[in-house]
């Protein structure tokens, strides 16, 4: 399959996964932190 040809080597995929997890989980942590700083503030 053409998809399989386009796949990165297993070790590269492992680190790509690690990077993506840190990006998604870390990004949402930063978003939550940002939005919590607005908590309780009047407009």
């Amino acid at each position: 399959m053409i998809w399989e040809l386009a796949l990165l080597p297993p070790v590269a995929r492992f680190f790509a996964g690690l990077f993506l997890i840190v990006l998604v989980a870390g990004g949402s942590a930063l978003f939550i932190y940002w939005i919590s700083t607005l908590y309780g503030k009047e407009e």
């Binding site: 796949l7 995929r13 996964g17 939550i32 919590s36």
Partner: protein, 447 residues
């Protein structure tokens, strides 16, 4: 029309799954854990009349609401990706695991109602505090039920029931469900505790007002008690879990404990060692600020820290010179060279049991000092860095352990989505699948 076997270009669909579910569990476990800690804190606030407990519980309620949105977005995306990338597997899984997944949906609805109700009724139920505490505990129980149902799914994939797939009871109580559930229950509380400690440390380091410094200093201590206290139970329960994996899926056990993925447990021992040493170092520092000075006790905790470091180092020694074969991290002949003190029996047992016992000893002394109180707001920066270190390490531990459980299904060739039943390429295998339907004998026929 056959269903296409889609791949995500470059990274592959397995990385898509890992990214979504690992991101999800990091939030979901925090919510599940915090809803044990927060209602207990609120109740302690009622009992002790100390406002810090209520402040903490309310803050946890706000955090849970903010976390819940992110925590619930990822599994919705995950189910969408399962249907798209693993249609054959998911249709079987949905069919076999219909009841747990159905119950899961209702738990989700219940949580949405109760998490928001708990927070929204904080002020309106200020004079009916005990009822409000009950509401918090109900939310916690609902979250326990929710992760129990999803643990049925997780454990079933690794050890399908030994009965027909239509036997709902056998599917739910598959061989590794109970130990996994215990492991997750304790793990969630510990994980949330360490994250609370890490968050408190960040806020403490940034606080300038005396009141805030006192509060966040206490909050770091409060999180650490939960985090460290519960993590000490994990090796014992984890051992029980691994034992049930060995009994019911020997190939998976060999793959993660002795085979090419054994380095994941090296990583785990590093994580466990860092968390234990950093926690006891924090306790040792805190004892300097005990209201009632306890020099003898401090010396005992110092001794415990020394033993803990020794046991952690003992746990770190690999069994052979092949550490991470996937990236070529091998030396002196690799797998053929056995290292002294590296074998599981007796060295790792000594290391793990020693770590638990010494940790419990240090924690017991620390809790005794806690009973007389501390001078809050005076903690050093380094003690807060120790808390931050435990928080970062516990995240890495969660990621490592999640990877271990999922990669274990590669243990037997050619790698399975449901062990022995559906391969990674979504080929359904009947022979050897413990849950495959057997021929029903006709009435009166000889069996």
């Amino acid at each position: 029309m056959p269903i296409g076997n889609l791949e995500a270009p470059g990274i592959g669909k397995e990385v898509v799954m890992a990214t979504i579910w690992q991101s999800h569990i990091l939030w979901a476990a925090l919510i599940a854990g915090i809803f044990i800690i927060a209602p207990v804190s609120e109740y302690l606030g009622v009992l002790t009349k100390q406002p810090k407990y209520d402040r903490f519980a309310k803050g946890a309620g706000v955090a849970a609401i903010l976390l819940f949105a992110t925590g619930s977005f990822t599994p919705i995306l995950g189910v969408l990706m399962l249907i798209t990338l693993y249609p054959v597997f998911w249709s079987y899984a949905q069919n076999i695991l219909f009841w747990p997944l159905f119950a899961e949906a209702f738990m989700f609805v219940g949580e949405i109602i109760l998490i928001y109700a708990w927070y929204a009724s904080w002020d309106t139920m200020a004079y009916r505090k005990k009822l409000h505490v009950v509401l918090g505990f109900m939310t916690g129980i609902l979250l326990v039920a929710q992760f129990s149902f999803i643990n049925i799914v997780g454990s079933y994939l690794l050890t399908p029931s030994l009965s027909s797939a239509t036997n709902v009871g056998a599917v739910a109580l598959n061989p590794t469900f109970v130990p996994l559930n215990m492991h997750r229950f304790i793990g969630n509380i510990s994980y949330a505790g360490f994250l609370v400690a890490g968050y408190a440390a960040l806020r403490y380091l940034r606080s300038t007002r005396e009141g805030d410094r006192e509060y966040y200093d206490w909050m770091g201590h409060w999180g650490l008690i939960w985090g460290f206290g519960f993590v000490l139970l994990q090796p014992l329960i984890g051992f029980g879990y691994l034992k049930s994996i060995r009994e019911h899926n020997a190939a998976a056990f060999d793959y993660i404990m002795l085979g090419e993925k054994a380095w994941l447990f090296e990583l785990l021992t590093i994580d466990l060692g860092i968390m234990a040493v950093a926690s006891v170092a924090y306790c040792l520092h805190k004892l300097r600020f005990a209201v009632k000075p306890m020099p003898a006790m401090r010396n005992l905790v110092l001794g415990a820290l020394g033993f803990l470091t020794f046991f952690s180092v003992l746990n770190l020694i690999p069994a052979d010179a092949s550490i991470v074969p996937q990236i070529g991290l091998e030396f002196a002949g690799g797998e053929e060279t056995k290292l002294p003190l590296g074998s599981m029996y007796p060295w790792k047992y000594i290391g793990i049991i020693g770590l638990m016992l010494v940790g419990l000893f240090a924690l017991a002394l620390y809790l005794k000092a806690t009973a007389d109180g501390f001078h809050w707001g005076r903690a050093s920066r380094w003690s807060q860095y120790a808390l931050l270190l435990t928080a970062v390490t516990v995240i890495l531990t969660m990621m490592t352990m999640g990877y271990v459980r999922e990669t274990a299904r590669r243990g037997s060739e050619p790698g399975y989505l449901i062990s022995g039943c559906i391969t990674l390429d979504q080929e359904v295998v009947g022979e050897g699948c413990p849950a495959a339907p057997t021929r029903t004998p006709a009435i009166g026929a000889e069996v």
